[in-house]
Symmetry: C2
Subunit: 242 residues, 2 copies
């Protein structure tokens, strides 16, 4: 690297689409929702109105499957001018229950790499969303015991990261955050002069995407997959690979 | 008291129906829901089925307004055999938005007593429910700055209290929890040999009620209103009243 070796008191991970697949669950459900409303409207229009309703409702419902479901129901009523049937609404509620019960599908190599990292580092999860849903996913992931700390927050911005560092008495320069969202996992962390490693994920929700101008000038690390992490962290910290 | 004076590192409060009114919001909404379904069913039957649906859905949705709303919608569809109209379902969604936006109504004297206690004690909030909703209520309550720690948990049992004490390195005998629910605020805390002060609230959700046999033998403190707390805590700690 040419730089001084770093020391990390805590190595923190995002969860959704970093440790396990999440966004595909929503896209699959959106497909089902689109099919349900196909008799009434075009696909383009359904997608557009659902997204608009979701964003409008975010301030009152927050992130997560339950808010998403209420937004789907609201969109369905609006787009059918109230003609949607009770049994069709029940199907939307059933979509949400399927989402909440579906087994957690870890990303490739996560099941091997996280235990390996836990032997060398103090690991933390920092995840945004619904408390109940995120706790349930972590429990079902089989990874819970490997993370010393779990922080579930309603929004990931510089303020929430700052509070977490303060509460755990971690100096920013001794903290690294790893995740798939530039907006939520990387940029706010860099703004605190902490470190961040970006791992690209196949799909990013429209709301999480940032334009290139927002990332310009910010200096973060990047690995291709989670399996690159042990060696990459060793290089950053100047450790000899175990 | 006749006992050795106690010392508290942290004085913790429940929030819903201890610091601010919460249950009446739900009862008000249940009344509106009942009215909406009046043309279809008897009041008794509506209440019964809504409660059953809520309890059944608790495992998948957790606590909070959004899960409650999805349960109302599901009950409405079921009780009308799908004949419920889109605009009626939209009204149910609107009930939930009203609940989430309604101003936080503090209990009597809370606005004066909490600042007074904050001058003498390290205060914590431990509240169960939806992360987003609870954070929003705390922010709107005007009390947020008076609590050094805020813990929002998905369930209040001996395990979650134990984790909180461990994480904050608080010895159970130096911790007191204050709240209106024997089931959630008092009994699990006593089981850890920590202290608990019960304050009765006018209404308790059926699900939070415990039979007398469950409280038998457990020894907790009890005050009538939050305004009794400063003097009561002074007596417990052997402090001279300020």
């Amino acid at each position: 690297m040419g730089n001084e070796p770093l020391q990390f008191d805590v190595v923190a991970f995002d969860a959704d689409d970093t440790l396990w697949h999440n966004e595909p669950l929503f896209t699959t459900t959106e497909n089902k929702f689109r099919k349900l409303l196909e008799p009434y409207h075009s696909q383009f229009w359904i997608d557009k109105r659902l997204y608009e309703t979701e964003i409008k409702n975010l301030a009152v419902f927050g992130y997560g499957v339950k808010g998403f479901t209420l937004s789907m129901i609201e969109t369905a009523i609006e787009l059918t001018e109230g003609r949607i049937q009770g049994n069709e609404i029940q199907r939307i509620i059933n979509f949400s229950k399927e989402m909440l019960k579906t087994p957690v599908q870890l990303l490739p190599d996560v099941a091997e790499i996280i235990p390996e990292l836990a032997r060398q580092h103090t690991l933390m999860v920092i995840t945004k969303g619904d408390l109940f849903e995120q706790e349930s996913k972590l429990a079902r992931s089989g990874l819970a015991d490997l993370f010393k700390f779990v922080e579930i927050v309603s929004e990931k911005n510089a303020e929430t990261y700052g509070e977490i560092l303060k509460r755990h008495r971690i100096a920013p320069e001794r903290f690294v955050m790893i995740g798939n969202s530039l907006k939520s996992d990387i940029l706010p962390v860099l703004s605190l002069n902490a470190h961040a490693i970006y791992i690209h994920y196949e799909t990013t929700w429209q709301h999480e995407q940032v334009g290139s101008e927002e990332t310009d000038g910010a200096s973060y690390h990047r690995v291709d997959t989670v399996s690159d992490l042990p060696e990459y962290l060793n290089r950053l910290t100047g450790s000899v690979a175990g």
